[in-house]
């Protein structure tokens, strides 16, 4: 039982590690402001639209821009988000790997070998999926635990954009901000910006739904 607290701390800080993924959103001529009472209804509406569009699937492209690198790094793959929150995250390039999120378990299949990933063994992977699963459905309660939400000065339109700023120092040391944009009940891009100016960006291209 004595190890319990350490685990709990780890779970809480896993998100920090996840945020080690580089990021910068730089379509940023946007001026951000805090959410107002008037934005709540629209936020709720977006969240409902995101939930209503489940299940969704498509391809994703992730680009990492780091000052230390001569070229950005790129990886590609496919994703599937089920109505019950389960996620399939399949990277195909440059190396094939499949992540499956089932309830609270994360499974990784690499070279035909399946391994369960815990917050203990790989906090960054665990934390990444914690954030992604909340973003896909815009679970506001979950996000509020770690982030302060901001909206563009002109408000949430269609397409919409949201900025998440870490609300604790631990997370802020790794993530400067996360910018999420979407339209028509789908999240189309997530950009994570690091304090040192590095950033990473994930684009989602949705497969049209079968009737």
């Amino acid at each position: 039982m004595s190890k319990l607290p350490a685990l709990l701390l780890l779970l809480a800080t896993a998100l920090t590690a996840a945020a080690d993924s580089p990021a910068r959103v730089d379509a940023d001529s946007v001026v951000w402001r805090a959410t107002l009472e008037a934005d709540q209804q629209r936020l709720q509406q977006i969240a409902e639209q995101l939930s209503a569009s489940l299940p969704v699937s498509g391809t994703m492209v992730q680009q990492k821009h780091m000052a230390i690198l001569e070229q950005p790094l790129q990886s590609k793959g496919e994703f599937l988000l089920e109505e019950n929150g389960d996620i399939d995250w399949s990277v195909t390039e440059p190396f094939p790997v499949l992540y499956q999120v089932r309830d609270d378990r994360i499974l990784r299949t690499l070279d035909g070998e399946q391994l369960e990933i815990s917050a203990r063994t790989e906090p960054s992977v665990y934390g990444f999926f914690q954030i992604v699963s909340k973003l896909f459905e815009l679970k506001l309660d979950g996000l509020h635990r770690f982030f302060t939400l901001q909206v563009p000065a002109e408000g949430l339109g269609e397409p919409w954009q949201l900025r998440l700023q870490p609300n604790n120092d631990r997370l802020a040391s790794a993530i400067a901000a996360i910018v999420v944009s979407g339209q028509q009940g789908q999240m189309s891009r997530v950009t994570v910006r690091e304090p040192n100016g590095d950033f990473s960006q994930i684009e989602f291209i949705y497969r049209s739904k079968k009737p």
């Binding site: 039982m1 004595s2 190890k3 319990l4 607290p5 350490a6 685990l7 709990l8 701390l9 780890l10 779970l11 809480a12 800080t13 590690a17 996840a18 945020a19 080690d20 993924s21 580089p22 992730q62 990492k64 780091m66 000052a67 230390i68 690198l69 001569e70 070229q71 790094l73 990886s75 995250w89 990277v91 440059p94 190396f95 790997v97 992540y99 609270d104 690499l110 917050a119 203990r120 063994t121 790989e122 960054s124 992977v125 934390g127 990444f128 999926f129 992604v132 909340k134 679970k139 309660d141 979950g142 635990r145 790794a174 690091e194 040192n196 590095d198 990473s200």
Partner: protein
């Protein structure tokens, strides 16, 4: 009254007044110690094992865990926050955590964390076995397949992920909790979701104030949660066990205690027919308890509750002195002459006091610190009660008894007297001895003993069931047993732990141990750090593996040079800092220095094979296997043997003491009845299926103390005198009422004690006429 007797009486009176004065002066300063552990020997209180035990006990004892479920777990947040606000008001808790983040300890950090120094055995194997090409390829793939990617900082500090692998060891294994969206730690039990609440007591759960305050606070704070639909609250923690123990003790004190008091009062009123005599009977006991407490306070600086309870009970034996005085006067009726009665009482009462005090003081030789106080308290108390009877009673009871006796009582006494005469007067004693020997030999094969402390306690089944549920639902739990590793300094300690770690890993791989924690998982020894650094330099830097990785990723030339440079050299991390910082995190295995050595505990996770671990420790001089439960059991066995020896010694001493008055055979006749009663008691208990423990032996010491009183009076009164029979008969009944009723206790140890006293005293009474002159 003769002048010599008058002098004795005045001396007694003076002593009594002195005892009362001492008591009155000390009473306001009495301090009680209710730490139950003081009942058990602190062995060597300053040994490294006991320091480790204390640390572990404190950590485990003070923790309280609650699992809270309602039909809608997500609606629990507000009620739990209200409960928390209420609970923090109680000073009995030092921490009340409902959110996962609040339950966390201080994170463990080393002054510097360098991947070249901190390598796991698995990483070392990998570095040794893979070529530079394979290493860089595998690291590249690792970085590129991570969904969250990696940061430039991570690349510069842990390019191969070996540091992360090392730090993963700083985290616990086996817990099944997860954090829900609201930040609560959640766990599933039988398909239902529960939220975890974790509290820490501010003081020991053995403290009665803490118990009461904490239980009350929990009850009132959780009242609202309990009213929610489908509410279910599971609890675990030492607090609930100690509280259950206290409640049981309270119930037993109120039922058994009240029952015995009522019984004694009725008996007195029936026999002596005088309320004033009833009140007077308790005066010597009152003075005795007062004096006993004062002497213990004065001697030890505090009074242990065990001494208060048992000591007061033993002082209660002093009712016998009153009974003899009353019986003499009552039996003489109108012919009562104080001088004559006083003379006849003086010798047997003095001898009785002497033998009882000798017997009780031998308690202290058992080594139980609690019982040393019991010995001092009961001896001082008995002496005070004796001087009260011999000093005060002659002043108040000089005149003959005014009331007559009950015809029923007289008839009963004659009947018992007749029966005992029939059995014992014509008895050929060697034949009786032979019969006793045969009984003992017949019963011998049934001999069984029990020294298991766990069986002596009887926690409510409900609590045990809940603890099982917690164990199952929260995952691996630390075992009570552990290994203790010793070394002259921290660096050597870590090196020894590394050797032990290897042996334990082999046991774990052989499925003889679930898991374990050693301090070297948190920091390798300086020697190991140097080896790691060498390996790193050779396989990662010199081989060009790191350079290759950075090239594959597309890191520019100056970036590569900076990273390679920063990962090439590292100063060895001094282990000394662990001593200061390790304690802040509860997950770090205990580390402490003591008497010029450094010690660390290796935590074990059950199930495991004790034999394999004992074997492991026995082949390593600096590693000891510590089994706190087993050790207590061993101690109980040790004290059972010791107490048995002391009991025999006490019989021998008393026999020697009595030889000068009665001669060798006469003294033998006096000590035989309680001895025979004890043998037959053991025989009966064994036939009833009891396993003999130290508590039975303690009871037999009481049988000796009281039984000798009986035989001394019978011996001194030259034949079966009715007043003696009345006194020892009443003594038997009061003893059975006060001690024998303990046989009904729900705590096995107390019940065993009570049962042995009950059987032993009744037998001692019936066998007592064996002591009379032939």
């Amino acid at each position: 009254m003769k002048r010599s007797l008058r002098r004795i009486q005045i001396l007694c009176l003076v002593l009594m007044l002195a005892a009362v004065a001492l008591g009155v002066a000390t009473l306001p300063r009495l301090t009680f110690n209710n730490d139950i552990l003081a009942l058990f020997p602190g062995q060597d209180a300053r040994s490294a094992q006991s320091i480790a035990d204390q640390h572990r006990a404190q950590k485990v004892e003070r923790e309280i865990l609650l699992l809270v479920h309602t039909t809608k777990v997500e609606q629990l947040q507000q009620p739990l926050e209200k409960a928390q606000a209420q609970l923090v008001q109680c000073q009995c808790f030092s921490k009340v955590a409902i959110k996962a983040i609040d339950m966390a300890d201080e994170p463990f950090r080393l002054a510097s964390e360098h991947p070249a120094l901190l390598l796991t055995p698995a990483s070392r194997t990998q570095l040794n076995q893979l070529s530079a090409e394979q290493l860089s390829q595998s690291a590249w793939r690792r970085l590129m397949t991570r969904p969250g990617g990696f940061s430039s900082r991570e690349l510069a500090t842990d390019p191969l992920g070996t540091l992360a692998a090392f730090k993963a060891n700083w985290q616990p294994t086996g817990d099944k909790l997860h954090i829900n969206d609201a930040g609560f730690a959640q766990v599933d039990v039988d398909g239902k979701s529960y939220l975890l609440v974790r509290l820490t007591l501010a003081a020991s759960p053995f403290s009665l104030q803490v118990q009461q305050a904490a239980i009350q606070a929990l009850d009132s704070a959780l009242a609202e949660v309990r009213t929610l639909p489908g509410a279910d609250i599971l609890t675990t923690g030492a607090l609930f066990y100690t509280h259950a123990g206290t409640e049981q003790a309270k119930r037993e004190i109120s039922t058994v205690g009240l029952g015995s008091l009522l019984g004694i009062v009725c008996l007195f009123l029936w026999v002596f027919r005088s309320p004033s005599l009833l009140v007077l009977a308790f005066v010597p006991i009152g003075v005795g308890v007062l004096a006993g407490l004062s002497v213990v306070q004065w001697w030890f600086g505090h009074v242990h509750v065990i001494a208060l309870v048992f000591g007061s009970a033993l002082v209660g034996v002093a009712i016998d002195y009153t009974l003899h005085f009353y019986a003499k006067r009552f039996d003489a009726a109108a012919h009562w002459q104080l001088s004559d009665g006083y003379r006849r009482l003086l010798a047997p009462l003095s001898l009785g006091l002497l033998t009882s005090v000798a017997g009780y003081l031998s308690f202290s030789a058992t080594g139980f610190p609690g019982f040393t106080q019991v010995a001092v308290m009961s001896s001082a108390g008995l002496i005070a009660a004796f001087v009260t009877v011999m000093g005060l009673f002659p002043l108040l009871l000089a005149r003959p008894n005014a009331t007559g006796s009950s015809p029923t009582l007289l008839a009963l006494l004659y009947a018992i007297q007749g029966m005992q005469r029939a059995i014992f007067v014509g008895l050929y004693r060697p034949l009786g001895g032979l019969a006793l020997g045969i009984v003992a030999l017949t019963i011998w094969p049934l001999w069984q003993s029990n020294d298991d402390i766990r069986q002596m306690q009887s926690p409510p089944a409900e609590l045990k069931q809940m603890e099982e549920t917690f164990r199952d639902s929260l995952g691996a739990r630390q075992a009570l047993q552990y290994l203790l590793v010793q070394a002259p300094d921290a660096a050597t300690l870590l090196a020894r732990l590394e050797q032990t770690d290897q042996a334990l890993a082999a046991l774990r791989d052989a499925q003889q141990l679930t898991d374990y924690d050693t301090l070297n998982r948190w920091l390798p020894s300086p020697g190991q750090q140097r080896k790691n650094l060498e390996l790193w330099q050779q396989r990662v830097i010199d081989s060009g593996a790191l350079e290759q990785l950075l090239t594959r990723l597309g890191v520019g030339e100056s970036g590569r040079a900076t990273i390679v440079d920063s990962l090439t050299t590292a100063p060895i991390i001094a282990p000394g800092q662990l001593l200061n910082s390790a304690g802040a995190n509860a997950a770090v295995p205990l580390l402490f220095s003591h008497a010029g050595s450094v010690y660390s505990v290796v935590n074990l996770y059950s199930p495991f094979s004790s034999e394999a671990l004992i074997q492991l420790a026995s082949t390593r001089p600096h590693v000891s296997w510590v089994d706190p439960v087993g050790r207590t059991n061993q101690l109980l066995e040790h004290y059972r043997h010791n107490a048995s020896g002391l009991l025999l010694l006490a019989y021998a001493l008393i026999w020697l003491l009595l030889c000068w008055r009665y001669g060798a055979f006469g003294a033998l006749a006096v000590v035989t009845p309680p001895a025979a009663a004890s043998v037959v008691t053991l025989a009966l208990l064994l036939v009833m299926g009891h396993a003999i423990s130290v508590f039975h032996i303690m009871a037999l010491m009481l049988v000796l103390g009281i039984g000798i009183d009986y035989t001394l009076f019978i011996r001194e009164s030259a034949g079966l005198v009715r007043s003696t029979l009345l006194a020892i008969g009443l003594s038997t009944v009061t003893t059975v009422l006060s001690f024998g009723l303990l046989a009904l206790s729900g705590t096995l140890a107390i019940a065993q004690f009570g049962m042995a006293v009950f059987v032993g005293i009744v037998l001692a009474f019936f066998l007592a006429p064996l002591a009379q002159r032939p």
